[in-house]
């Protein structure tokens, strides 16, 4: 990290100042997430250092107390159902949008992406009233439908991004070699857009897994998801189990992040793009 010899004094100062500044910003970004983890091993019920002793009691509570483990289970079920539905609908739509240019395409796209942009509280209030009319408010199905609406934009965006660099002549090549349209899709198109689909699916999963506002409106007491359990826990009185829950969630996001990064690199290698 030595400064090139032709740098002026001003440039040298700027070089180190930039690195110091960026270092502080990155520290700021990561520190809350790192600082909260050790607290989850605290043997006492307060949240500051130094800790008097270490224990796994909050993890014990998180995994064995039915309030927390039940919420974790509900979250997984809802998120998996949402992911399946959102990935299916979103991929189809992205394929359609990439196919041709038609009048009003950008408006259609704007509508499809809007659930990501519209403040969630507005969606939640609207959905609560409307889903109550349909009789799905307070049911797990209602939460899954609402989360699917919120999650599909991520799938549409990621799959569209992979398709934008997709070479359409490959499909014609497949067809001219005698493959039926579905064979072309599964043997040619799908392997190439799969990384986009998987990233989209993971985004859909976290969107549902982290979502709390819609759940606040739509969930019945039996359908408490993990974020809802955390949120109500925080508002009443912070239980240290929350630090254990947060740590587990950070580990899950780390795993997802690593997966997405590996996929991105794989797809860049496949398509010969260097980013």
């Amino acid at each position: 990290m030595a400064v090139p010899s032709y740098y002026t004094r001003g440039e040298t100062v700027a070089y180190y100042a930039l690195r110091a500044f960026v270092g502080l910003v990155l520290l700021f970004l990561i520190s809350p997430i790192i600082a909260i983890m050790p607290l989850s091993f605290n043997s006492e019920t307060f949240f500051s250092y130094p800790m008097p002793g270490y224990s796994l009691r909050w993890y014990d509570d998180f995994f064995l107390n039915p309030r927390w483990s039940g919420a974790l289970k509900v979250s997984f079920i809802v998120a998996l159902a949402t992911t399946a539905l959102a990935t299916f609908l979103g991929t189809l739509a992205a394929l359609g949008l990439a196919r041709v240019n038609f009048y009003g395409k950008s408006s259609v796209m704007a509508v499809l992406i809007s659930p990501m942009i519209v403040p969630v509280i507005i969606s939640a209030v609207g959905m609560f009233k409307f889903y109550a009319l349909l009789g799905v408010a307070g049911t797990r199905l209602g939460i899954i439908l609402a989360h699917t609406a919120l999650a599909t934009p991520f799938v549409v965006i990621t799959v569209t991004a992979t398709l934008s660099s997709f070479d359409k002549t490959l499909m014609r090549a497949g067809a001219s070699c005698g493959a039926a349209p579905h064979t072309v899709f599964f043997k040619v198109v799908m392997p190439l857009i799969l990384p986009g689909m998987i990233s989209g699916a993971l985004f859909a999963f976290v969107t549902s897994f982290d979502e709390v506002i819609v759940v606040l409106f739509l969930a019945s007491p039996e359908d408490r998801t993990l974020p809802l359990q955390m949120f109500s826990g925080i508002r009443e009185m912070i239980s240290p189990t929350i630090t254990a829950a947060a740590t587990v969630l950070v580990l899950i996001s780390t795993a997802l992040l690593v997966t997405v990064e590996l996929l991105r690199r794989r797809s860049e290698r496949l398509r010969g793009v260097r980013a």
Partner: protein, 429 residues
């Protein structure tokens, strides 16, 4: 010559089966469009039904409230003859008694009271009490008897309010969210000073969002620059610091800030150890003593932490495409490093800056969880007021009207974003 003879008489190009090429192409294109339509329509229909339509219904509720109109049909019909100056006639009171008896039987009195209470505070309990007592009245004249139950029925303003609610469509909610109201004569005027709160909430929401956007730009731009100009290996390692928070749930990050910012929490400890408590004296004070938790400063810091990757990543991806040759050229033409950076490099990053800042600004407008958990009562934004309107006050008209304002602001910015950046070029991670 031989080629010309091979073509048919009308000299159009044809496919192997003899259809004119133009027709065949148009047909193929139509088939493609139909296929595209078939692929897009399931999601489009789903989004319209499960998302767009519920929001439209909510918007409708901002101007539609049939609680009074449905439950006082006779009173409203009788009030049509009223001149609005003196007290209404005996017929109005007679109709009122009939309506209230019916409402009492159908358990709708509380609804009427709730609705009227938005405009005349304190009337709710009086309406409910009247509903209980009105059953005893069976002989005219009703006018004196009703006023005897509660003097509020002897005031013209009460009847003017009922008359204004006679239509199920009311400008009341939208007007009150703009700190305005209808006067007795139907004209629009500003709310009295002490009831003007929502314009402030709107200003606060825009102000916090703007501040958060600026802070993310100031802190994010240098990081994006270093990431974009570092060697690939260093950049990927540094990128983890940006992407890990990006992938961590908003609730987890807010919780982390909340726990760390407690009065005796880690950050207070950190600040007193490193001696930067003076920061608090500058930014975060409650009742004159330096505090971190439940301050505007804490809200902005936590929101900035959550939004930083959203601003940074679009800037980074634009910076990746800028060739270093431009800076070399600028320097070789005699520009100082600073001058070259400002005049040559920075203008090229503007598309990324616009994309990142607009996205952060739009998303910041809708923040609810973070201000609710980290901020104090005076740091709540529009979303927070919508939440308390529905969950604490059970006032869906108010929630819908606030929703309209927030939605309009969002849609305008979304439109600008689409024009400037293009949604189809939005990228994640």
């Amino acid at each position: 010559m031989a080629m010309a003879q091979a073509l048919p008489h009308d000299a159009t190009m044809r496919t192997a089966d003899g259809t004119p090429l133009k027709v065949a192409l148009a047909r193929a294109e139509r088939r493609e469009k139909l296929k595209a339509f078939a692929l897009v329509s399931p999601l489009f229909a789903f989004i319209v039904l499960s998302f767009v339509f519920p929001i439209l219904v909510m918007l409708y509720n901002a101007a539609h409230d049939p609680d009074v109109a449905d439950n006082m049909p006779l009173t409203i019909a009788a009030l049509a003859q009223w001149d609005g100056k003196d007290l209404p006639s005996e017929e109005v009171y007679a109709a009122f008694v009939t309506d209230m008896k019916a409402a009492q039987q159908n358990r709708q009195v509380a609804l009427i009271g709730k609705r009227l209470n938005y405009e005349i505070s304190g009337i709710r309990s009086k309406v409910i009490a009247t509903g209980r007592k009105v059953g005893a009245l069976d002989q005219p004249p009703f006018k004196e008897a009703v006023i005897a139950i509660d003097p509020i029925w002897g005031e013209t303003e009460t009847w003017a309010t009922i008359e204004r609610s006679s239509s199920a469509y009311t400008p009341f909610y939208m007007l009150s969210m703009l700190d305005m109201r209808q006067a007795v004569d139907g004209s629009v005027e500003r709310q009295p000073q002490e009831r003007r709160i929502y314009i402030d909430v709107l200003k606060r929401t825009l102000g916090i969002s703007l501040l958060v956007t600026l802070m993310t730009l100031i802190f994010g731009y240098p990081v994006a620059y270093l990431l974009a100009t570092s060697p690939q290996k260093t950049a990927s390692i540094l990128m983890i610091f940006v992407l890990l928070p990006f992938w961590t749930s908003l609730l987890v990050r807010t919780t982390a800030w909340m726990i760390l910012m407690q009065d005796d929490g880690v950050f207070s400890q950190f600040m007193s150890i490193t001696g930067i408590t003076w920061l608090l004296n500058l930014f975060g004070q409650i009742d004159g003593s330096p505090r971190l938790f439940h301050t505007r400063f804490a809200t902005v810091v936590a929101m900035m932490h959550i939004q930083l990757p959203f601003t940074l990543l679009p800037i980074y991806s634009v910076m990746k495409t800028i060739s270093p040759n431009y800076m070399r050229a600028a320097k070789s033409l005699g520009g100082t490093p600073f001058y070259s950076f400002v005049r040559v490099y920075m203008p090229q990053t503007l598309p990324g800056v616009a994309a990142g800042c607009l996205l952060t600004f739009i998303l910041s407008l809708g923040y609810f969880i973070t201000p609710a958990l980290v901020g104090g009562p005076s740091d709540q934004m529009i979303s927070g007021f919508i939440f308390s309107a529905t969950n604490n006050e059970n006032n869906w008209g108010k929630a819908s009207a606030l929703g309209v304002i927030l939605l309009i602001a969002t849609i305008i910015l979304y439109y600008v974003y689409n024009k400037l950046v293009g949604i189809d070029r939005m990228k994640l991670g």
